[in-house]
């Protein structure tokens, strides 16, 4: 167990180092940091002074180590565009993205598993067929188009829901939450559907396929032959076995939710990290891009780690510490 965790941790740190290198190279070689930070009127002497102050006259590896040190202290530099510390800017916007991702992720998982199980158990029902057909279209629909169409129907035509922003937010410590106000919760609905729909169809199709596979296994047949109730067989035995592979893929999907949040946030003018990143790409705000790269990589690495551990908890066959096949 400990060896397993340790090995995964070392791998994760290696991945983060590689990403840090890329992000540093980006930071260092894209554009001229000195020119970006100083106005046109700066003298050559001023530039050299800044260059030395930023450590840009040092050898590459020294600068990289220096960079890692600063990153570990939470210093990602200054945004070219906004002239404020990048870490601060990102932290302000992180709660909006996390709340959106959390809500749509949970909704996608719960509904996806429920619909997947339903369509697997009622394979020939008309409702199952309808769900499967709609899901096929859902997979082909670009995320931004889903968002635009939802705005058209629910915000413009029906005028039921707001089309942009987070509504009223409440500041709790460093966290600005939209969960606590009516308008905040209402504002969350359309973006959450937009972000979660694709993942939902994906999870549903996966659960259905896995469940059908599991229902054909010998241990399910044996469970039936022992007269266990359908409930115990479907939701005890079959579902648990179905969820083992589903957890891995769903975990990785959580990463894409963060990525697709970029699109959703832009469509709904959601004040999160994704929309911030898009603006950084548009204005070539390199420190923000580099920091976002690190942030995304960190989220992916952490999710991967959690998925591995979860896998380990759910599947006893991986727990080798008790010794395999003792007689």
């Amino acid at each position: 167990m400990t060896a397993f965790i340790l090995r995964r941790l070392v791998q994760s740190v290696l991945v983060m180092l590689v990403v840090a290198l890329i992000s540093f190279a980006l930071f260092r070689f894209v554009g001229d940091p000195v020119a970006s930070l100083m106005g046109q009127e700066a003298t050559a002497a001023d530039r050299d002074a800044l260059r030395a102050r930023l450590g840009l006259d040092q050898p590459f590896w020294m600068q990289f180590i220096d960079y890692i040190g600063r990153v570990l202290r939470g210093d990602f530099g200054i945004s070219y565009r906004l002239q404020q510390p990048v870490a601060e800017l990102i932290l302000q916007r992180l709660p909006a993205t996390l709340e959106l991702a959390l809500v749509s992720g949970i909704a996608a998982f719960v509904l996806g598993v429920a619909l997947g199980v339903y369509t697997a158990l009622n394979r020939r029902g008309w409702l199952s067929n309808a769900i499967m057909t709609v899901s096929l279209i859902g997979v082909s629909l670009p995320t931004f188009l889903i968002g635009v169409l939802l705005i058209w129907v629910f915000a413009v035509e029906l005028q039921w829901l707001p089309s942009f922003g987070r509504g009223e937010v409440v500041q709790i410590g460093g966290w600005r939450t939209g969960f606590l106000t009516e308008s905040g919760r209402v504002a969350l609905i359309l973006p959450a559907i937009t972000l979660g729909l694709y993942q939902l169809t994906l999870i549903m199709r996966l659960v259905r396929a896995e469940m059908l596979e599991v229902l054909r296994t010998d241990y399910i047949k044996f469970a039936r032959a022992r007269g266990l109730s359908n409930r115990a067989i479907h939701f005890g035995h079959a579902l648990k076995n179905t969820l083992v592979p589903v957890i891995t893929i769903t975990g990785l999907q959580l990463g894409s939710i963060i990525a697709f949040a970029i699109i959703t946030e832009t469509v709904f003018q959601w004040p999160g990290v994704g929309a911030f990143f898009i603006n950084a790409v548009r204005f070539v705000d390199v420190p923000v891009m580099a920091a976002y790269l690190m942030l995304i990589a960190l989220i992916f690495v952490v999710i991967n780690l959690i998925v591995d551990l979860l896998y380990y908890v759910v599947d006893p066959r991986l727990r080798v510490d008790r010794g395999a096949a003792r007689h």
């Binding site: 991945v15 980006l26 894209v30 554009g31 279209i137 997979v139 082909s140 629909l141 670009p142 995320t143 931004f144 188009l145 635009v148 169409l149 705005i151 058209w152 413009v156 089309s163 990785l252 990463g255 894409s256 990525a259 697709f260 970029i262 699109i263 832009t266 898009i278 950084a280 790409v281 548009r282 070539v284 390199v286 891009m289 790269l293 995304i296 992916f300 991967n304």
Partner: protein, 313 residues
């Protein structure tokens, strides 16, 4: 002299019609409808300069008075009728869709071609050479696969923009976009080709070709490539749908093509702005075109996969 005269051979068209693939196509309603829709859009895009009633990019043909004409209704000032209406600048929406699809498809096909060339080349090298090079390439592929390709394309695009001087950014945008989308999607080709290469390279006929001293590149191209054309075609078709969606997404986000070179994604971005003022057609028709294109190509890919039934992961 060959005793094989051209008359003995069934004509190529006849042969294609009789093939299993063509039979499966003729008998699948989904494939037929998707095929017709995709063909119509592609034809419309290719022939846009001939078909389009107006050239939306020629200011001389535009009349601002024609702006915001609803579909199938005469314009209040000029009396002109447009099938799908006009946008704020008086551009015919139907024509902008044809030109937009032209751009979308160009980027899509070019990105797929780039990804395919890159993937096949790296896959052949990895499979044929093996060793550390293979290990390295496949590690990169694994890591890349866990990343959503749209995010990757976005990052590559952002980095590339950083390297390109501001003055050239607009002109280079389309090529940067093609490279970014292509780079985010080469892994599947490489995996399939690598797998096939590793299987084929140990077969006797390849060994025999090696023994008689055939050049490795020749062996790869002559003997191994034909074996993977089926799966590659499937990946490329689904890849085309993905590339079109990726391009539309980036352009919609405003980080893809500039407004002077609009694709379907750019048109939707523009149309979204008029949603609240009631000019729904500026948004609806480009959206429908994109949806029809992406869905039909996607369904064609699905059908092709089932029909060829290659081992795809």
């Amino acid at each position: 002299m060959s005793d094989f005269t051209p008359e003995d051979r069934p004509n190529a068209l006849r042969r294609a019609w009789d093939s299993d693939l063509a039979y499966s196509f003729r008998t699948s309603p989904v494939a037929l409808v998707s095929g017709v829709v995709a063909t119509l859009i592609i034809l419309g895009a290719v022939l846009a300069p001939l078909i389009a009633p107006h050239n939306p990019f020629d200011p001389a043909t535009l009349n601002l008075m024609d702006g915001f004409t609803p579909p199938m209704e005469p314009n209040a000032f000029t009396g002109n009728v447009y099938w799908l209406g006009t946008d704020n600048q008086g551009r015919d929406v139907f024509s902008t869709i044809l030109y937009g699809a032209r751009t979308s498809l160009f980027v899509g096909f070019a990105a797929v071609l780039f990804a395919m060339t890159l993937g096949i080349t790296l896959g052949l090298i990895a499979g044929f050479r093996g060793g550390w090079l293979d290990g390295l390439l496949m590690r990169v592929a694994d890591v890349q696969l866990t990343f959503p390709s749209i995010l990757l394309a976005l990052l590559i695009f952002g980095v590339a923009r950083g390297f390109i001087p501001a003055a050239y950014r607009e002109a280079m945008a389309i090529w940067v976009l093609i490279v970014a989308i292509g780079l985010s999607d080469w892994v599947q080709y490489a995996r399939v080709v690598r797998g096939a290469t590793m299987v084929e390279k140990n077969k006797e006929y390849v060994q025999a070709a090696r023994v008689i001293g055939a050049h490795p590149v020749k062996i790869l191209v002559r003997h191994i490539l034909p074996n993977v054309m089926g799966p590659v075609l499937v990946i490329a078709t689904i890849g085309l749908a993905l590339a079109i969606i990726a391009e539309a997404t980036l352009s919609f986000l405003g980080v893809g093509l500039p407004p002077t070179q609009p694709s379907l994604g750019t048109l939707i971005r523009i149309g979204q702005g008029f949603l609240f003022s009631g000019e729904w057609w500026i948004l609806a028709f480009p959206s429908a075109a994109l949806l029809a294109l992406a869905l039909s190509v996607n369904l064609l890919g699905d059908w092709l996969r089932d029909a060829l039934n290659p081992r795809l992961r």
